[in-house]
Amino acid sequence: MKTRKLPVLIAALTAGAVLAACSGGTKAGSDGGSKTLTLASVDQGSVEDVVKAFEKANPGVKVRYTTSGADQYQQQIRTQLSSGTAPDVMSVWPGNGNPGATYVLAKPGYLRDLSDQPWAAKMPDAIKSVAQYEGKTYNAIFGQNGIGAVYNQQAMAKAGLTPPDTWTKLLAFCKAAKAKGTPAFALGNQDNWVTQLVLYALVATTVYGPDRDFDQKMQAGQATFAQSPWTTALDKYLTMEKTGCFQKNPLGTNYEASQALAATGKTLGIIQGNWVIALLKQQNPQGTFTLRALPAIDDPAETLIPAAAGAGYGVNAKAKNEELALKFVNFVMSPEGMNLFVKKQGGLPSLPDTGYAVDPSLSELSTFIGADRTVPFMDQLWPNAKVQQTMLSGLQEIFSGQSTPEKLLDEMDADYKAGS
């Protein structure tokens, strides 16, 4: 049986490989012409509308685009860039620290400098810092997201509790919620990327509140994680766990399960990015969900929110159709393009004055952004992807008693110092 299967298997593999080789490259150039633009995107579910609007605004133009999940996209785009088959316009993540990030792709010269485009100068500083590499803008970042406590309004009303705005009130809130049998927040730490969100929300206020230049100091080697208020933030995270702010067994609970808990009122809320609101509404269309800053100190006026640029678009340095590529990127950064994107994605536009009507669930985030009370997601300015991965698995290890906060911060310092 085994011997007879082998040739079939080989034939199938061969056929598969040949087909993959034929379809692997993008269609750039195959039907060239000045009216065709190639695009690879991770904005599944929202880029479709933008492409449609772009084609409508530019009659005769055809956009050939592919969408894929982040993991798959990162593998694909790297292969395409190094083999010269990448599309004209592609999704690029802000800052550094992931395989498809601005620094990573701009450094070997794969991206076209976009500093001369009209929107580049209008970007707020927090966005600029992650859209640029060595002072030049490479990433057309159209939207931003924030991390905070998302409350289920109906569950809150039922429990008779209100969102806390100081650290002391937060702990009291957790105790009161637990006493009523509905823990304050759902935590889906089985998916390791979730582990960082509570910590980021606490780090924003405790680390960046007293020192907005913490990243510059880290880069200059004048600061470390272990010798900074990162220790305070980590300690507060564990205090929240001990106080019963989260449901039982966060390590056995995955992202989807945590959404279900918050959506159905089995917890009063969830500490997540604003993107979770749309998902909560899918599970509970009648629910009302509001994002508020997570307090980490007792002075509400000093609280900061981690808010960061989402993935944007870069132009291939060797674009087959550069003119059209720039046109597309400028359309994305126009009020029309930006609003189309963020409305579908549930975030906020990156540039001011787009006339975007903010959803009431995000009004606090919008206020914080307007008052410059936000800091980028911490990993976006780290020198390599390893620091974040060490943090993610380290947090799981701390929650399961396999590691300690001191050990984790030392490991993160070691990875940080290893550089890019």
């Binding site: 049986m1 085994k2 011997t3 082998l6 040739p7 080989i10 034939a11 593999l13 061969t14 490989a17 040949v18 993991d71 990162q74 593998q75 790297r78 860039l81 190094s82 992931n98 395989p99 990573v104 792709l105 450094k107 070997p108 730490n189 089985q190 998916d191 390791n192 039982k248 067994n249 966060p250 390590l251 056995g252 609970t253 995955n254 399960a257 390599n384 992807a385 390893k386 991965q389 698995s393 380290g394 799981q396 290890e397 929650f399 399961s400 008693g401 396999q402 590691s403």
Partner: protein, 315 residues
């Protein structure tokens, strides 16, 4: 790994004394090796050459993107033994492979003996027991990820029958998670082993069993002295398949736990994936893949040699 079934078939059709007619002889001749040449060339071109060329990158610091990389000799390999995560992953890989091999085959054999008996519902049972093996591993993993959650079906069931003390955070506890993964894989593939054992069991001639029974052998003795030796080929296939599958294990682990909590369930394969595609350390990741290839080759060859000798000894 490949069996040549015709070698084991008795020559029923050849008259013992007559000179075989040329037609029959031609049918039995092995085809010339160069018939396989086109396939071999294609295989070499598509699989072998790229793989061997890929090995070169294990000796570089390539990040998967930058065309400007340098040769670093054996650095990636020596780094591996200083990397606690890698050493732990190798250990997990072997632990998983061995436990899956033992448990899956033990369960598979018991199931095969069960459904090979005269019980009435045996055909239905065979279908049900084999069914999990035809589901995509990623689907079963997602299914079990929910069943094994803190409030999932498994814990609810244990609570309902009064076994509250047995409730666990199946995938969230570093002590239990690895065994939960093993359990899920055994659940899925025990039926697969069962089918192979069943085929072996059904080739055991009834007459020998009857003869042994007449000689006064009980069921246990008959299993040990009659069935077991005749099952040797089935056992070889099953052990080979499960140990290779266990060492290469990726999708179920990745979907069930992502290697977590922390690194508690990381195997060589999940580490290779993470190092390459999350961290962009392609050189290091390929070095890990080379080590994985060597482990698979050594273990499977060693196992095959031992089992083949065993087969010859009992037959």
């Amino acid at each position: 790994m490949t069996l040549a079934p015709h070698e084991q078939l008795p020559d029923h059709d050849r008259p013992p004394d007559a000179e075989p007619v040329p037609k029959v002889r031609r049918a039995r001749t092995t085809p010339p090796w160069w018939f396989a040449l086109p396939a071999l060339v294609l295989f070499a071109f598509v699989v072998l050459v790229p793989s061997v060329r890929g090995v070169y990158y294990a000796f570089t610091d390539w990040d998967g993107l930058d065309p400007d990389f340098s040769f670093v000799g054996l650095d990636n390999f020596s780094a591996m033994f200083r990397d606690a995560d890698a050493v732990q992953a190798i250990w997990h890989t072997l632990l998983i492979a061995v436990s899956i091999t033992v448990v899956q085959n033990a369960v598979g054999l018991l199931l095969a003996l069960g459904v090979n008996s005269a019980i009435r519902s045996r055909n239905v049972l065979r279908v049900f027991l084999f069914a999990p093996a035809v589901i995509t591993p990623i689907v079963t993993a997602y299914l079990w990820r929910n069943l094994l959650g803190p409030d999932g079906a498994v814990n609810s069931l244990l609570g309902a029958v009064g076994l509250d003390g047995w409730r666990q955070d199946w995938l969230g506890s570093p002590q239990v998670a690895l065994w939960s993964v093993v359990g899920v894989i055994v659940w899925q593939f025990a039926g697969y082993s069962m089918v192979i054992f069943l085929a072996g069991l059904q080739s055991v001639p009834k007459e020998i069993h009857e003869a042994a029974a007449i000689d006064g052998a009980g069921p246990v003795r008959r299993f040990w002295s009659v069935t077991r030796p005749l099952l040797a080929p089935a056992l070889t296939i099953n052990l080979m398949l499960s140990i290779i599958g266990g060492i290469k294990l990726f999708d179920q682990v990745y979907a069930l736990t992502g290697g977590g909590p922390g690194h508690a369930t990381d195997t060589l394969s999940t580490l290779i994936y993470k190092d390459a595609f999350t961290l962009g350390e392609f050189g290091y990741s390929i070095a890990l893949a080379v080590v994985l290839t060597i482990i698979v080759a050594v273990v499977s060859t060693g196992q095959y040699l031992v089992l083949a000798r065993n087969e010859r000894a009992v037959s």
